[in-house]
């Protein structure tokens, strides 16, 4: 649920990075944080365990510039990927305006990808959203590793509805901003259509 503030002349939107544990959600945000001008970003917050696994969420506020005199501000969140954190994932999806699904391209993570994308659909439904009507893009991450599935295989597995998809290596930043721009554009386009 975007927030239009006529007083501050701002619009605020919430984007959630979803995906199985260790697929690279936090790494996406870290890269965005590192490569953004200080005046366009707030502090990045990570609620993580001692071993740097996301416990509740990561949060990164970003400003993307102005449209018609309104500042556009995006709040990026990641969810904890591990299966047993499902209650937390549901909470973070509340009020979401757009979703990035980060798939782990490694062959041994195919089942985890499938489970996570199904979990995304179910959790959205529980909140009364439909993944098919929400701004939604998919990122195939870790393309740099040797043991990866082909994009065709990944597409068949997690992108049967043919939403925009991007190959990425979040660790070096390949595809990270392409993914962000795509979801931000979809969210703004949705806003234009009037919600």
């Amino acid at each position: 649920m975007s927030f239009i503030n006529y007083m501050a002349r701002e619009i605020n939107c919430k984007i959630v990075y979803y995906g199985p544990g260790l697929c690279g959600k936090t790494t996406n945000l870290q890269y965005i944080y590192e490569r953004t001008n200080p005046d366009a970003k707030g502090k990045m917050i990570s609620l993580a365990t001692e071993t740097e696994r996301t416990l509740f969420f990561d949060f990164l506020p970003l400003s993307l510039g102005e449209i018609r005199g309104f500042k556009t501000r995006f709040h990026l969140y990641t969810v904890p990927g591990q299966v047993f954190y499902d209650a937390s994932r549901k909470l973070i999806l509340k009020g979401v305006d757009g979703v990035v699904f980060v798939a782990d391209s490694q062959i041994e993570r195919m089942e985890a990808n499938l489970e996570s994308v199904e979990n995304l659909r179910t959790n959205l439904q529980e909140q009364g959203y439909s993944l098919d009507r929400l701004p939604y893009v998919i990122q195939y991450n870790k393309r740099d590793l040797p043991n990866v599935a082909s994009v065709e295989e990944l597409r068949e597995l997690v992108n049967s509805t043919h939403v925009p998809e991007f190959e990425a290596c979040a660790r070096t930043g390949v595809g990270v901003f392409e993914t962000l721009k795509a979801i931000a554009k979809l969210v703004l386009t949705e806003l234009k259509r009037g919600s």
Binding site: M1, S2, F3, I4, N5, Y6, M7, A8, I11, N12, K14, G42, K43, I45, L47, F56, F57, F59, P61, L64, G65, I67, R68, F70, T72, H75, A87, S88, K90, L91, I92, K94, G95, Q127, G128, Y129, K181, A184, K185, L188, T189, L191, K192, G194, S195
Partner: protein, 159 residues
């Protein structure tokens, strides 16, 4: 869309800001701010210069969401009030109309009793303002974004 769009207009903003400003005074608070349940900061007052209100807003909403989840598991209604006591700073968190969150940060210059009392009155006023705001939002009106073009959106991303 499921949720009604959250919108803030100048008139309501000014009324909200007045409530928040007064609460800082009346409760001897250091800082007062209001956040929506999705973590967006709505208004703030007091000694906010040295405070990362964006981060605080997001964490407050996360906190309320988490305790709300706990309440659900216990078949409770939402826990409407929370209090965190620190060595110097204390935080009082109040859910208002199940819609927005009123946060008061205070130190030894105030007391929990005073804060509670003042928060109660402020909550009632805020509840009325937000109810009126919600009605207004549901009236059909022109969105400022109906007019934006694909080009406007593209231009945002031309580095």
């Amino acid at each position: 869309m499921v949720n009604p769009q959250m919108v803030m207009y100048e008139e309501e903003f000014n009324r909200i800001q007045m409530v928040v400003d007064r609460l800082v005074q009346d409760a001897n608070a250091r800082v007062v701010f209001i956040v929506d349940k999705n973590g967006q900061l709505i208004a703030a007052s007091g000694d906010v210069e040295n405070l990362d209100t964006t981060s605080l807003a997001s964490l407050t909403a996360g906190n309320i969401a988490a305790t709300g989840g706990m309440a659900k598991l216990l078949k409770e209604n939402e826990f409407a009030t929370q209090f965190h006591e620190g060595e110097k700073a204390n935080i009082h968190i109040q859910l208002v109309g199940n819609r927005v969150i009123l946060v008061v940060i205070f130190d030894a210059k105030s007391s929990l009793g005073l804060v509670r009392l003042r928060v109660k009155r402020a909550s009632e006023e805020l509840n009325r303002i937000f109810e009126a705001l919600l009605k207004k939002v549901q009236e059909p009106g022109e969105s400022p974004f109906a007019e934006i073009t694909d080009e406007d959106i593209d231009n945002l991303f031309n580095d």
